[in-house]
């Protein structure tokens, strides 16, 4: 039933390679393109003179960034969100990996549960977030739950694909050598599935950031999502920009970390003569 590992899109493999190449050989190109966008933005504000609550200048955003950094509010809110993201990612993927392992082992169990699992994906998390906040309070725990829920499915799918993909011949080999259950798990199944597991974690990481912000939007008094709400309410669009850039930075760092782990776990793949 579940056959394809979750990834961003069908062509993501290719796009990945292109991105990687860009990053590796043309690191300066990325910097140039960022500078270019900033320049266009600055000039646009200079000539178009939009009201600051529509589009603040890069300078205004930068000033807001340094001032919120100086008074500690940015770090305070960012660390709350970061904590929610990490905890949600951790619990969500832990649960998904454990359940996924058993679903991969038993297709009967998968057949039994997969209708519910697939149906659960039809529920937009944004829609039930208010419910979760009513039930679990406006504090951190409801955000962690939302993050965990949003992370759960892609990690589960990748876990199932990963463990199903363990080659039968290697399984036979381990059985013929009388490997114990534990030996089979940590010498064969986990290393064989690891690249796909990390792939799931990479997607889960960015989703977890979305989950945290959605939760904070719906109801909270701290976090970057809350900061965006505040900025919107006070027509302080520069503050909104600062929060958004911080979120992007957070998501990209986590994504990069997971990608690094994925790469390390497959360094044998890139070996050449």
């Amino acid at each position: 039933m579940i056959k394809q590992p979750v990834s961003e899109s069908k062509s993501s493999g290719k796009r990945h390679k292109t991105l990687e190449k860009l990053a590796r050989y043309n690191g300066w190109l990325v910097i140039v393109s960022i500078l270019l966008v900033l320049a266009v933005w600055a000039l646009g504000v200079l000539w178009g003179k939009p009201p600051a609550f529509l589009l603040p200048s890069p300078q205004a955003v930068w000033d807001k960034f340094t001032s919120t950094l100086a008074d500690g509010s940015l770090l305070r809110h960012a660390s709350v969100t970061f904590y929610e993201v990490l905890a949600g990612l951790f619990f969500g993927s832990l649960l998904a990996t454990c359940l996924g392992y058993f679903l991969a082992k038993s297709s009967a169990l998968e057949k039994l549960l997969s209708p519910y699992l697939v149906a659960s994906q039809a529920i937009p998390l944004v829609a039930i977030a208010p419910l979760l906040i009513i039930w679990f309070g406006p504090g951190i725990s409801s955000k962690i739950l939302i993050c965990a829920l949003i992370v759960f499915f892609p990690v589960l799918v990748n876990t199932i694909i990963g463990f199903r993909g363990v080659p039968d011949n290697l399984r036979d080999l381990m059985v013929s050598m009388r490997a114990t259950r534990w030996q089979k798990l940590h010498l064969l199944e986990i290393p064989a599935a690891l690249p796909i597991l990390f792939g799931g974690l990479r997607i889960g990481a960015t989703l977890s950031v979305i989950g945290a912000v959605v939760g904070e939007f719906v109801g909270s008094d701290k976090g970057l999502g809350f900061l965006i709400n505040v900025g919107r309410g006070q027509f302080d669009t520069a503050l909104v920009f600062v929060a958004i850039f911080t979120l992007i930075f957070m998501a990209l760092s986590l994504y990069g970390l997971a990608m690094l782990a994925e790469k390390r776990s497959t360094r044998w793949k890139s070996a050449h003569h």
Binding site: P167, V175, W268, K269
Partner: protein
């Protein structure tokens, strides 16, 4: 010669999607200690099934087999397949160490044995290489080293050189013989090559088309150590002719 393995009216019927499929029928033979037995037969006849049964990967639906000299002790079995089946995330050395890791052999001793084994198969320079960097012949050498390092009581070879080109194949056969002569163990080898079977074996069995039963069982009385020249021995030619005629 002491008896090592007794196979008694072994039968295997698969219950597949398209109904029952009988792969083995009434197969009985005895394997002596340190004997090298080869199995020939048309493809799809059930040769791999026999090895999978003996390795304990599947359970027979009829008959039984027994390891004679070791009551209650499970013999150590090593399997080598047509594909090397190395773990791609382990280096050559780590792949060869795997059986010792499973047996819980102490690290220092294990490394010592693995290095000796790597030398025996001539892969010293590739100890730290990844399997993806090896040629087919080298990968199969690693697989053979991994099989022998376990010090198996029984070695099961399923067309071990089937995916190699003819020249590499001959060389690997000679190497296998060399290793086997230094570490005697009982061997059952499935092969498609009559000359490979005759060069290596003490005895050759020929399977019928499915369901497999034994149609010919032939002792190979050629002096050891056998070399490439043994191929031109008239006795060898006679054996080869007889086997060729018995394989349908």
């Amino acid at each position: 010669m002491t008896q090592f393995l007794e196979v008694d009216h072994l039968g295997m019927t698969f219950n597949g999607a398209e109904g029952e499929l009988q792969a083995l029928q009434d197969v009985s033979f005895i394997l002596a200690e340190q004997e090298f037995l080869s199995v020939l037969g048309p493809s799809g006849s059930g040769k791999s099934t026999l090895l999978r049964l003996l390795a304990g990967l599947i359970k027979p639906t009829a008959g039984s087999f027994q390891f004679g000299c070791l009551p209650n002790v499970q013999p150590r079995i090593s399997l080598v397949f047509q594909q090397a089946n190395l773990m791609p995330w382990r280096t050559v050395l780590q792949n060869i160490l795997l059986p010792l890791e499973l047996q819980g052999v102490e690290r220092g001793k294990a490394l010592e044995r693995a290095n000796a084994m790597i030398q025996l198969v001539g892969l010293e320079e590739f100890a730290q290489a990844w399997p993806s960097e090896l040629s087919g012949g080298m990968a199969q050498r690693v697989a053979i080293a991994r099989a022998f390092i376990a010090e198996p009581d029984l070695l099961l070879l399923d067309e071990p050189f089937g995916s190699l080109d003819a020249l590499t194949r001959e060389r690997m056969g000679a190497e296998l013989l060399k290793i086997w002569q230094s570490q005697r163990t009982a061997v059952i080898m499935v092969t498609h090559s009559i000359s490979e079977a005759l060069l290596l074996s003490d005895r050759v069995m020929v399977f019928s088309p499915r369901p497999a039963s034994i149609v010919v069982e032939m002792k190979v009385d050629l002096p050891r150590p056998r070399q490439e020249e043994t191929r031109y021995d008239p006795q060898f030619q006679q054996y080869a002719k007889r086997l060729r005629q018995s394989i349908k």
